[in-house]
Structure formats: structure tokens, C-alpha cells
Symmetry: C2
Subunit: 200 residues, 2 copies
DNA sequence: CGCGTTTATCCGAAATTTCGGACAAACTGC
DNA sequence: GCAGTTTGTCCGAAATTTCGGATAAACGCG
């Protein structure tokens, strides 16, 4: 489960307060004072969620939201506002905010929302990783001649064994249940170099 | 994206009202009048989320919540209550409710919450499906000797080609870019019978 | 039925792969 | 630094695979 919360809040006092709340709940806040400071962390593979104030000196929370959604539509952004305001809340929802909270808000409520957002972010990222893995296998599985496909698969297996054994050919051969010389023969044919699989 | 919402509400008027709200938002409500009626739909592979009233004659919303969480911890349950009540809300959160809403609630708010819950449910189920698929490949991919694994893969490829060509060996051989006789040789060695891949 | 096509097998020669043995070079650890 | 291990390469014989050709049986269809 992910734990990072990119916290964007210009008021140092409130920022420290929220940070404390999150730390107590075993989350990992990344405190920033505004859009500029937070910007570099907002990426499509950010392993966490965003918690941003709306009213801020440089850029407001909606710009954060817009920026984040452009980088990754599935990156949850939770917005905080000082005074409740119905049209503002509506705009937040319309723009894709994950949740909209009024300050001061119940810490339990805040943590609850953040937890759900983190959970969601976790499965979305897992999802992407798995999809990529599946796509790889799937694609490689349909094209080319029989021998080409088998060679590709053989290469995969051998390379996997090699990296699992830190590039030791004899150990990999043992793991794969073939004589060492045979593995060398196959590696020569497939143009695999053992050195490329050493960690150190 | 999933759209089903298992609606549990004993008051017929309110039930119909919520149903209308959901229909207007292109969701698929499944209206029920209580735990008993809803029970059979609550399964670990339910392709939707649950929206339940708390106060009800037979079993209350917390029993629904408990039952649902037992069947599937990742099945979102949204609870509705008539009169706001802090300890009740706390209990809902503690028991793993996805969200806690007070009646009467803003339809937009309701739809917003349901949409997020459905989104979450969607990725969780996708996740499971992919995990299963990966596990299958993964398991078969890690065990046995090199030659065994290659033979297994070769068998997969040949069988796939055969069924794609309705068990015609010559056509399959052509598709796989190998001479017909070679494919027969391989099939003999792998003990594959072409007849088994004819549709008719 | 009769004819063309496809399947399933067998043969055998050429090509490839397997794998034990051998050996110098590189690496390891004490 | 040096003894023991491991690597990377070469050899060569045995085993296996490839693949064209041939053929009988089975199939498909007008």
C-alpha cells in the first residue's frame, strides 16, 4: 500500500499541523509551500496522492488539479478550502478532484479520505504494471515464425536464469537442467553474453 | 467502467427516488428492500458497488456492511443515514464503509461518491483478473528444465496455430513458416493430434 | 461415383544440436 | 601470491532435427 501524500499548503502553521496528523497515522507527507515547489513531484508515476489547499498566493489549487490531471488522469487530488462554497465544490468535482474538504476538517475524516485515495492509487499503479507485463507477453506471442518465436522464448528463459544467477553460466545451466557446454552453445547461437547479467 | 449499484432501502418512496437519480446518471441501480433481498447479489465478484440505508426493519446497514466485507473486503459499501450522528459515522469508517452520507443528500454528491466507488471497484476487479492471468503464465514459466519449458511453449504455439486453422496441418505449417513435414515431426514428438483441433 | 485435394506416415540424407572432455585464461579467497 | 575454482572456447562423435520426396488412405464435392 502506498503512503506518500504530496502536501501543498502555503500557511506554514497549518502545513506543519497536517504533516503531524499524517505522520501520526503512519503516512508519508511530502510538505511543500505551493505549486512551484510541488511541481516536480507531480508525475504520472507518482506513488502517492496529492492534498492541496485551494487558496494560495502563486497558483491556486485548481491549477494544481489541472496540472496533475494533465500529467495523470488517475492521480487523486484532494482539495482543501477555508470557507465552504457550493460552486467551488462543484467545480472541484467537475474538474476531477478526488474529494473536496472544508477547513478545518476532522483529522479522522482527512485520514479516511486520504487512505481511500491511496488505496485507489495503489491498485491503479499495480494495474498499469501488470498491463504492461501482459502486453509484452501477448505481443511477442503472436508474430513471427515458429522457430523465431521459440528462439525468443528460449532467449527469455536463458536471460532470466542468467540474471537470477548473477551471470554465472554454470549455475544457470544447473538451474536449467542442461549441461554447461550446451548452454554455451545455445548462448553462442542466440548471441547472449553472460557478462551483461552480472550485478557488480 | 462498471455501473451497477445494489441499492438497499426499505422505504419504497426513497428507494424509487434514488433509483431515478441513478438512472438519470446512466448508472444501473438494482433496487432491493432489505438485506434478505439483496443478500444473494452480494458476492466477491459482484461487478458494482453497494448503497445501503442504515436504519431498516430486518437487518441494519452495518450487518450489510459486515456481510459484504466478509464476502469481499474490496467491495465498496456506501452507507446512508437519516440523522447525522458522529459515533455512527465513526463506526462506519472503522468497519470499512467506503463512504458515509446523510439523508437527504445532494444527488450530485451521491453520484460523485458512487462514481468514485465504481471506478475503484473496476480497477480492483481488473486487477484480480490480470493477476490470475499472470500467475498462470508465471507458474508455468518458472518450473522444469529448459527443454521441458521450451517443449511446453512449442506445444502451446502449435496448438494455437492448429485451432486457428481448424486442425488443418498444412495450413498451420504455412502459418508457422515451417515445412509441413517438419510440423508433423514436431507433432509426433509432442504427441499432438490434429484431429483434436477440428471445430466440426 | 470419380477426381482432385489433404492428411498421415515412412524414408533417408544433410544440417544442426547435444554433450563429454580438454585447456588456457580469469577470478576467488585465504 | 598462489592453490582451487570458474569461465570461455574448441573439438568431435553421437543423437536429434530438418525437410524434400514418395505414397496410401481419407476427405470433399460436383
Amino acid at each position: 500500500m502506498l503512503r506518500k501524500v504530496l502536501l501543498i499548503e502555503d500557511d506554514p502553521v497549518l502545513r506543519a499541523s497536517i504533516e503531524q496528523t499524517l505522520l501520526l497515522e503512519d503516512l508519508e507527507p511530502i510538505p511543500t509551500n505551493g505549486f512551484t515547489q510541488a511541481r516536480r513531484s507531480i508525475r504520472s508515476n507518482f506513488r502517492g496522492v496529492i492534498l492541496s489547499d485551494i487558496q494560495m498566493p502563486d497558483r491556486d489549487g485548481f491549477e494544481v488539479l489541472q496540472f496533475a490531471k494533465a500529467r495523470d488522469a488517475d492521480l487523486p487530488v484532494i482539495l482543501l478550502t477555508g470557507h465552504s462554497n457550493v460552486p467551488t465544490a462543484m467545480r472541484a468535482v467537475r474538474d476531477g478532484a478526488y474529494e473536496y474538504l472544508e477547513k478545518p476538517c476532522d483529522p479522522r475524516r482527512l485520514v479516511d479520505v486520504l487512505t481511500r485515495a491511496l488505496e485507489h492509487r495503489t491498485v491503479v499503479l499495480e494495474n498499469r504494471a501488470m498491463r504492461e507485463e501482459l502486453d509484452q507477453d501477448g505481443q511477442a506471442n503472436e508474430t513471427g515464425s515458429l522457430t523465431e518465436r521459440l528462439e525468443a522464448h528460449e532467449r527469455q528463459i536463458i536471460e532470466h536464469a542468467l540474471s537470477a544467477e548473477n551471470g554465472k553460466v554454470a549455475a544457470a545451466a544447473n538451474r536449467l537442467g542442461v549441461p554447461r557446454n550446451t548452454l554455451y552453445d545455445r548462448m553462442t547461437k542466440l548471441q547472449i553474453v553472460a557478462k551483461a547479467f552480472r550485478k557488480a
